[in-house]
Every structure is written in structure tokens, then in C-alpha cells.
């Protein structure tokens, strides 16, 4: 039976390669197609080109969309992460009734399909408009509020995870040395939760940046986010320009993850 371990080892490695292949296939496919030199995607390609990238660059809706998506993601993260972090702090340290319920509610948006969230929010906004007699659908505030909803479950989950591993004796030590509760939070607790907060920021940003379903129903004319711009483009043409835009998006997020990893080891957060 000497050959058996070697055999299982090969099988094990093959399984890993296949699993990663399966996960990476769509991403790789997008990147490959983006350099195919034919308007109608066919295999094998007639030739390779970068003209779709040039086209993507020259069409204003993509550059504008990228900028709108970026701004929206930054604002949503800046609003959502502090809210989520405060909720996580309260859930971890507070003693109050209905903790489990609140926790489930905050994590809820993860469990509900985004398109249902989007539709529900749309209907809710319309109803609210009727009652309040103000515009909500199509306003920046309405869109930011919807995206903040997306960032909250990630922030609560990731910050909670980093708080659970925190030795409360360290906070007691600070109090013992004369730090009031506010100073303990600011100088000790928050810095110690840094990795969780950074990870929460990154995931919130990505959630908002790539969201199509909520934005689709709630954006204002002239404030088209990148995913919506891509969908619009798709209604009229199917050429590899979208693959080029997708490639840019993938690289953008990839770079973001690498940069984050330099400050906080992501492997330690999960």
C-alpha cells in the first residue's frame, strides 16, 4: 500500500485546483474576453486587442459611473461603519433586553436577496414620500441610506468578531491607571479593534461599490453608478467593452484588498 498516500495526495491537490478553478472561472473568463478582437464573442478569438479598454475609457458613462460609484461607496462606508461598530459595541458590552432580536435584525440584509431589499425600499420610499411630502427616491440621501443598509451587517459582524477576542482586563488596566470610560474607548478599545474596523471598511466599500440591485431602483437621473451604467450599455450592445470595464473593476478591488492587507493581515480577521 506504499503508493496509496501518494495517490491520495495527488487527488487532494487536484481537488484544490478544481475548487479554485471553479471559483475563479468567471473572473478569469471576463478578463480573457476583454482582449478578444471581435464584437460578437466567439471562440477561438480572431485576434487580441486592447481597443475595448480604449472604448470603455472614451465612453463617458463608464468614467462617470466609476466616479459616482466610488463617491457613493466612500460615503456609505463612512456612515455605515461607525454605526455598525457602535452597534457591535453595544451588543457585546451592553446588558439590555432583546439583544438577540436586534442582532438578527442588523444582520438581516445579508439574508434577504438584494433585489427584494431594493424593491421593498423602493415601495417604502414612495410611501414615505406621500406621507412626508418630500422627494426620497432619486435623491443622494435616499441612495446613501440604502447603501448604508448594505454596509451595516458586515460592519456589525466584523467588528463584533474583533471585540470577542479582546481581553477586557486590558480595558480594566487602563481604568485602573486613571482612564475614564470615554478615554478607555478612544485610546484602548478602538485601537485594539483596528483590524476588524479596517476589514469592515473594506467589505462595506466593496458591497456598496458593486451593488446593482438597490441602486437600479433608487438612483437619480444623471447619477448613474457603474453597475447600472453597465446594465444600460448591455441593453443596446453586447461587445467586450463590458468585459473590459469588468476587468478594471476586478483589478480595482484586487488592489484595494492588497493595500488593506498591508495594514491589517486579512487572514487574521477571518
Amino acid at each position: 500500500m506504499t503508493g496509496f498516500p501518494a495517490f491520495t495526495r495527488v487527488g487532494y491537490n487536484l481537488l484544490i485546483v478544481m475548487a479554485y478553478g471553479l471559483i475563479m472561472a468567471p473572473v478569469l473568463a471576463v478578463m480573457v474576453i476583454s482582449v478578444f478582437d471581435a464584437e460578437i464573442i466567439s471562440f477561438p478569438p480572431h485576434g487580441l486587442t486592447l481597443r475595448w479598454f480604449v472604448n470603455a475609457w472614451q465612453r463617458p458613462e463608464f468614467a462617470d459611473g466609476l466616479w459616482v460609484s466610488f463617491k457613493l461607496a466612500v460615503i456609505s462606508t463612512a456612515v455605515g461603519v461607525p454605526l455598525g461598530a457602535m452597534a457591535a459595541y453595544a451588543l457585546n458590552r451592553g446588558k439590555f433586553w432583546g439583544k438577540g432580536l436586534i442582532s438578527s435584525l442588523l444582520l438581516g440584509p445579508l439574508a434577504v436577496p438584494a433585489i427584494i431589499c431594493g424593491t421593498a425600499l423602493y415601495i417604502f420610499y414612495i410611501q414615505a414620500e406621500n406621507v412626508l411630502d418630500r422627494d426620497i427616491v432619486g435623491t443622494t440621501a435616499g441612495l446613501v441610506a440604502a447603501h448604508v443598509l448594505l454596509t451595516i451587517p458586515w460592519s456589525v459582524r466584523l467588528v463584533s468578531a474583533s471585540m470577542e477576542g479582546l481581553d477586557q482586563r486590558i480595558e480594566e488596566a487602563a481604568a485602573n491607571l486613571g482612564a475614564s470610560p470615554m478615554i478607555v474607548a478612544w485610546r484602548i478599545t478602538i485601537p485594539m479593534m483596528r483590524s476588524g474596523i479596517v476589514a469592515a471598511c473594506m467589505f462595506s466599500f466593496i458591497q456598496s461599490f458593486e451593488n446593482l440591485e438597490l441602486s437600479l431602483l433608487l438612483i437619480a437621473p444623471g447619477q448613474i453608478t457603474l453597475p447600472v451604467a453597465m446594465l444600460n450599455y448591455l441593453e443596446f450592445r453586447i461587445d467586450p467593452t463590458l468585459a473590459a470595464v469588468g476587468t478594471i473593476q476586478i483589478l480595482f478591488i484586487g488592489i484595494l484588498m492588497l493595500v488593506t492587507d498591508r495594514f491589517v493581515k486579512l487572514s487574521r480577521v477571518f
Partner: protein, 349 residues
């Protein structure tokens, strides 16, 4: 009045009382150890003094001021935690400086005081390291320096050595004791390790079930334990069931008659407490209690015997004073004797 006074301190968690009307004084410059098994209430007591746990009743006075209702950050105490609890995102120097900053020591004075505190624990060279770069013993020293830097009116040590290996623990015990005596620090230490308490403290307070069993100097507790719990907890002790006959004799449950200290009224039922090292082993024909060797272990500096007196097994420790001392074989017939003052009669619980 200087020092720490604890008066009728109580703590209930829901309906469970974990500390019962505790009274305790730590004089200025004195080191007192709260010693007991886990769950005896010693840590809860320390945490009430530090202000992390709110007492259900009673008072805590520090240098004459009632601090019972004061938040932890206003109390003038310096605490060393079992897990050291160093701030992981700050350097050693910043850890030590934190308390000075919180107590509004002028910025210009801080570096000198940080240096002095680190110097005391011989950690000056590692001032710029991060806590994760230090060994357990080094972290322990930094934690001590951080607590001492603020010149607290009371030093609190919560099982400070239990995460160190045995050899290092011995060294640090003496070091902390020397420092505490040199600085004249009023100190309360919590430990479950009796050796640690004996080495370091001026007085020991033995706790069990949220109550004080006995308080006294190490010698008092060891030589004059007031009950069998204390006798068994501080040092090793043979506890023999039976009854005191009066007139300096004790009858074991198995009927053997043993010499003991003369208790004026006969106490029955009772327990006889004899320390293993107070028992002499003599040859078969000598005067004393006939016994036989049931087991022996060679421990280097000592030889530990298990001996049998008509069905009652005792532990006897003999010093290995001369080289080549023979270990008595099992079943050797021997005679035991001890000074009557070494055998104390205690109430059975």
C-alpha cells in the same frame, strides 16, 4: 488612618452570596495575601477594592477615605493582572507612561519617571519594544512597572505569577517582595499558590466559601491552624480521624492511641493534625507508636514515606541530611514518635 480597611464587605450575584461580611486590614507598607482555592471569593474581593465589581454591602477605606462608591479610574490603586493586560498597540515605554498621562503628570517629567519605573524592574533596555515581542516574564515586569510608575497608595496583585514557569516564578517572588519592602508599598495579593503567599506576604488570609477561615503570619497559620481546612491548605498535613481523650492522648478511629497536645476538655469527635516533617522514624524496638512502612519515594532533598499505624496511613517526610541514607524497604517494622506540641487536636467539620 493609613493603609487599607475593609469593613463588612459583601457581594451577592443574584441570590448567591460570594463574599460574606469580610473584615480585613492591610497596614501601611504591609503585604497581605488572600489565599484560597478557586471560587473562595478572593478575586472578587480584590476586584471590589480595585473598583471593577460593585460591593453589595460594607465599606472599603483607603488611607481613611471611603472609596466604596468611587469609580475605578478615580481610585489610587495600581493593579497587576494575571494576564498582564499590557496595551498591545503601545510600546513598553508608552504602556508605563499611560498612567502618568492619565494622572496629568507634566509631559517634561514623564520620561524620567518611565525610565525610573523600568529601571526598577530591569527593563530599561526593552523600552521601545512592543508587548508581543516580550517573553511572559518580561511582560510581567512591564505590568509591574506600569502599576508602580504612578506611585499608587495601594498595590493590587491578582495571581501575578501564575502564568510564569516554576523557576522564573521563584525568582520573581523574591524580586517583587524586595521591591515592595524597599518602597514600603501597601500591597494586597491574591493567589491560590500557598508557597507564593508564604514567600511574599507579611500576613496571610485564608479564605474559603466567601469567608475568612484564618488570618495570621505564615508561622501562625502553619504551626497553629485553627481548623482542618487551614491545616490542610497551608503546607501538607496528616489529618487523622478520631477523638481526643484528654490528658494528651488521642484515640484514632481504628483504636490506636497517639500522643497529642493536651486539650483541657476532651474533644470528640475530632481530627488530629500532624505535619509530615514533624514525625520521627525510629527502629522497631524504640519507644513510641509501632508502625510499618507502606511505601517510600526518594525525592532528592527528602524521602517521603507512607506509613501504616494499625490501618491509618500517614505521610512522613525525612530530610536527606547525609549522603547515602538508605530508603527503608516496604513492610519494615518501625516506631514513630513526635513532640506532643506537634500534634494538634482540631474540631471535625
Amino acid at each position: 488612618m493609613q493603609g487599607l480597611q475593609i469593613e463588612n464587605l459583601e457581594k451577592n450575584y443574584n441570590d448567591v452570596r460570594v463574599v460574606h461580611g469580610l473584615n480585613l486590614t492591610v497596614a501601611e507598607g504591609e503585604m497581605v495575601a488572600l489565599l484560597g482555592p478557586s471560587g473562595c471569593g478572593k478575586s472578587t474581593t480584590l476586584r471590589m477594592v480595585a473598583g471593577f465589581v460593585e460591593p453589595s454591602g460594607g465599606r472599603i477605606l483607603l488611607n481613611g477615605t471611603d472609596i466604596s462608591g468611587m469609580p475605578a479610574y478615580k481610585r489610587d490603586t495600581g493593579m497587576v493582572f494575571q494576564s498582564y493586560a499590557l496595551f498591545p498597540h503601545m510600546t513598553v515605554a508608552a504602556n508605563v507612561a499611560f498612567g502618568l498621562e492619565m494622572r496629568r503628570v507634566p509631559k517634561s517629567e514623564r520620561p524620567a519617571r518611565v525610565a525610573a519605573a523600568l529601571d526598577m524592574v530591569r527593563m530599561s533596555k526593552l523600552a521601545d519594544r512592543m508587548p508581543r515581542q516580550l517573553s511572559g516574564g518580561q511582560q510581567q515586569r512591564v505590568a509591574l512597572a506600569r502599576a508602580l510608575a504612578v506611585n499608587p497608595a495601594l498595590l493590587l496583585l491578582d495571581e501575578p505569577l501564575s502564568n510564569l514557569d516554576a523557576k522564573l516564578r521563584g525568582e520573581v517572588q523574591h524580586e517583587i517582595r524586595t521591591l515592595q519592602q524597599r518602597l514600603g508599598l501597601t500591597t494586597l495579593i491574591v493567589t491560590h499558590d500557598q508557597e507564593e503567599a508564604l514567600v511574599m506576604a507579611d500576613r496571610l488570609v485564608i479564605m474559603e466559601g466567601g469567608r475568612i477561615r484564618q488570618a495570621g503570619t505564615p508561622r501562625e497559620l502553619y504551626e497553629e491552624p485553627s481548623d482542618i481546612f487551614v491545616a490542610g491548605f497551608v503546607g501538607r498535613c496528616n489529618l487523622i480521624e478520631g477523638e481526643s481523650q484528654g490528658g494528651g492522648w488521642f484515640r484514632t478511629a481504628n483504636g490506636a492511641l497517639l500522643p497529642c497536645i493536651d486539650t483541657a476538655p476532651a474533644l470528640k469527635p475530632a481530627m488530629l493534625a500532624v505535619r509530615p516533617e514533624h514525625i520521627n522514624i525510629d527502629n522497631e524496638n524504640a519507644k513510641g507508636i509501632p508502625a510499618r512502612v507502606a511505601g517510600a519515594a526518594y525525592l532528592g532533598s527528602q524521602i517521603e514515606y507512607r506509613v501504616d499505624i494499625s490501618g491509618t496511613t500517614l505521610t512522613v517526610m525525612r530530610n536527606n541530611a547525609t549522603t547515602g541514607e538508605q530508603v527503608l524497604p516496604v513492610n519494615t517494622a518501625i516506631t514513630l514518635n513526635w513532640p506532643t506540641t506537634a500534634a494538634r487536636v482540631l474540631p471535625r467539620q
